[in-house]
């Protein structure tokens, strides 16, 4: 087979046609791969780059920004009003947080700034710094003096999920910290100058105590540089967003482990139950019984999976398995298709082998364990592969079987509901978290990785599997 047609000589019009066919094939392959390639690009973009009016193929390099703000005048003003120094510093810290957050929110859209640091100066000393980047959207770092504090708060649910307002003050500041010596960095680009003007007028929407007030400090400098190391941030955000939905120390990896468990038990069960059933059909039953047993298996192949969706759910409820991981595995225990694969393979084994073993006094179970299993690695590999890809991607059943217990969400179900935007056309919100297309794209790539790895590892099995059917047929 293979390149049988390549040997045929071509001339004249044939050469033109071959060229035409090649051109069409290349165009078609490119069109086929375009959605996947575009998704990989999307995973590196900002929201604006995806939904904007311009079609962008190559994502821009994200930028990092450092903003220096002087609070000397503000502090003097407050001091005159008789406010304690520690409280003034607290107010400044509040404002720095709001500014940092506001800049990250506003600039991420236009300028793809994915890393923002705000440093507060007072009387030539650096007293406070807020630093965060998109990667750590849900965890803000506060550098107050020598210590850095981490506040576990979600970005989009900042106000709702962090009720201990009083506790905040203890995080904000070390009372006796009066800052360290530091020189204010110089401005470094035209963009920085433009941004500086914007920041001055930016209403600080996120300040706790004073909503929508302009900045009280004076913007000294805005430094801006390319930050290519931030390019993969969307992947981290995807993981964090998925993990943050349920209060679980394993977070994102819970879905992954659930899927791995379901797939592993499924494969083991398929190999054991379908394998022994296939062997019984192929080598043990007399022809009459084989016919009846085959019919029993064939009928299961003709039942549409969708029809069984409701009654299967009711069935696992009957067995008190609904909402448990064993309920998901229940219908994966054995498939008629795998029984047939095993039967086809065992049919091919030479009959003389079995006769010889029987004459040597080997029992039927002994033959299966000592003779058949060692020679059947190929078919077990193929069944493993087929079962893996079938169970790993089976969204419909896993979606139903995990109703009411998000702890047992499997990989496709968990990703779909947390970062891929849910089901249906218009659902783009899950809980209080907005789903962004770039995060969904990153999550899609995550979901494809295990399949690619498994297929890569089991290439040999794929080739052998293609032979199982062909040798007989």
């Amino acid at each position: 087979m293979g390149d049988s047609l390549s040997g045929i000589r071509s001339s004249g019009i044939d050469k033109t046609l071959h060229g035409l066919f090649l051109g069409l094939t290349v165009a078609w392959v490119l069109a086929l791969l375009m959605p996947v390639a575009y998704t990989i690009g999307d995973a590196l973009k900002s929201t604006r780059e995806i939904v904007g009016s311009r079609l962008i193929w190559i994502p821009a390099v994200p930028r990092a920004m450092e903003i220096a703000v002087d609070y000397s005048d503000y502090a003097r003003e407050q001091e005159a009003l008789g406010i304690a120094a520690a409280d003034i510093r607290r107010k400044i810290a509040d404002e720095a947080l709001a500014l940092q957050w506001g800049v990250l929110q506003d600039l991420d859209q236009d300028q793809k700034v994915w890393d923002v640091a705000v440093t507060c100066f007072m009387g030539g000393r650096r007293i406070h710094q807020v630093r965060s980047n998109r990667k750590e959207w849900v965890i803000f770092k506060y550098l107050c003096g020598k210590t850095s504090y981490t506040l576990p708060i979600g970005l989009f649910s900042f106000f709702q999920q962090y009720p201990e307002r009083e506790a905040r003050a203890t995080y904000w500041h070390e009372r006796d910290w009066t800052g360290d010596e530091a020189t204010v960095p110089a401005n470094n680009s035209a963009l920085a100058e433009r941004v500086r003007a914007t920041i001055r007028d930016l209403p600080l929407r996120y300040v706790f105590d004073q909503p929508k007030e302009p900045l009280k400090g004076r913007v000294l400098t805005v430094n801006e540089r390319p930050a290519p190391e931030r390019l993969l941030d969307n992947f981290f955000i995807a993981v964090r967003t998925a993990a943050n939905v349920q209060d679980d120390p394993l977070g994102f990896f819970r879905y992954f482990l659930n899927s791995v468990f379901v797939v592993l038990v499924g494969i083991l069960s398929q190999c054991a139950i379908s394998g022994s059933a296939g062997y019984a059909l192929s080598r043990l039953f007399s022809p009459g019984i084989t016919k009846i047993a085959l019919l029993f298996v064939v009928i299961t192949l003709f039942i549409p999976g969708l029809v069984l969706l409701t009654p299967l759910y009711v069935t696992i409820s009957d067995f008190k398995l609904a909402g448990t991981i064993w309920g998901i595995i229940f219908p994966y225990a054995a498939w008629g298709l795998n029984v047939f694969l095993f039967k086809e393979f065992f049919d091919q084994l030479p009959g003389e082998l079995f006769e010889a073993a029987r004459i040597d006094g080997c029992g039927e179970t002994g033959i299966f364990v000592r003779l058949v299993l060692p020679t059947s690695k190929a078919v077990f590999g193929v069944v493993t592969l087929l079962t893996f890809s079938a169970i790993w991607g089976d969204f419909i059943w896993q979606n139903v079987a995990t109703i009411g217990n998000s702890k047992i969400w499997t990989f496709p179900v968990g990703l779909t509901y947390t970062v891929l935007g849910g089901v249906g056309g218009q659902a783009v919100f899950t809980g209080d978290r907005e789903i962004r297309p770039e995060i969904g794209a990153a999550a899609s790539i995550f979901a494809a990785i295990p399949t690619i790895v498994i297929f890569g590892l089991m290439q040999n099995s794929i080739k052998k599997g293609a032979l199982i059917g062909s040798v007989k047929g």
């Binding site: 996947v36 039953f285 022809p287 009928i299 056309g425």
Partner: protein, 306 residues
Amino acid sequence: MAEVPPAPVRIGRRWIRGLQARRNLVGLAFFLPAIVVFLLAKYYPLIRVAYMSFFDYNFTEPPGRFMGVANYAYAFSNSLFWKAFFNNWIMWALGLVFGFFTPMVQALLLSEVRLGKKVWSFLYLLPVLVPGIVMLLIHRAILQDDGLINQILALAGLGRVGWLTDPRIAKIGLNILGLLGGGLYVFVILAAIEGVAVELHEAAVIDGANVWQRVRHISLPAVKPVMWVLFINSLGGAMENFLHPYLMTGGGPDNSTLTMGMLMYNEAFILFRMGQAAAYATIMLACAILLSTVGIYLRKAKIDLN
């Protein structure tokens, strides 16, 4: 069976029969787990769904109130049911229009490509590595109002199309990416093309046939049986249209992509009317049995033809 040798002497036959009986027993032990699994996970739910369809099924006190055929009467008098029923068929047909011949054309083109044939066939297979649900979500993203396809249309100076949001177009939108083709079918069909004896092609060349004529008169006929099988397979899957609308449109807009599967799912897991859902499922089962029977007849008809 082939491996049971003819008895050399008369005494041996009874011994062999005894051996076969013992083998049957061992076989039963080997087959028993499969019997249990198939009974529990296939046959019992199958009977269960038919049984449930006659009740206003109640989870806490199963099976609840007996309804007779009221669930079926409701189904057949429900305009939504008929909409879903016909949507199923329209979308099956659209799936064939956009996706059925694509792998065939791709394989026919590929069979006569001389340069980098292995590379192109590998690239055709590549999207198979992406799990189906992820591929659907990628398709959903690029079909959205501000998605890739509309962006390209805008670049070409054409207006935007509501692929998933316009009730008149959504059915096409769900199926149009079948035009991209690729996948395993390309390989299956390519194998059929390359299975033709090379002498046939050589003889055609000597008779002065060009590439087009060889594709038209040698490769295309070789593909026909495979396409026939694929067509029968698609018939079997006609009732199983669920994941596309569920993930991409949610059955909307204006129920224009609602399928039988979606209707059943909504009834069971959104409205929790299991009895009604079971009635829909039983109707789907009846349709599927009918289609399978048609498929078996078509297969037989094809065999008779040859």
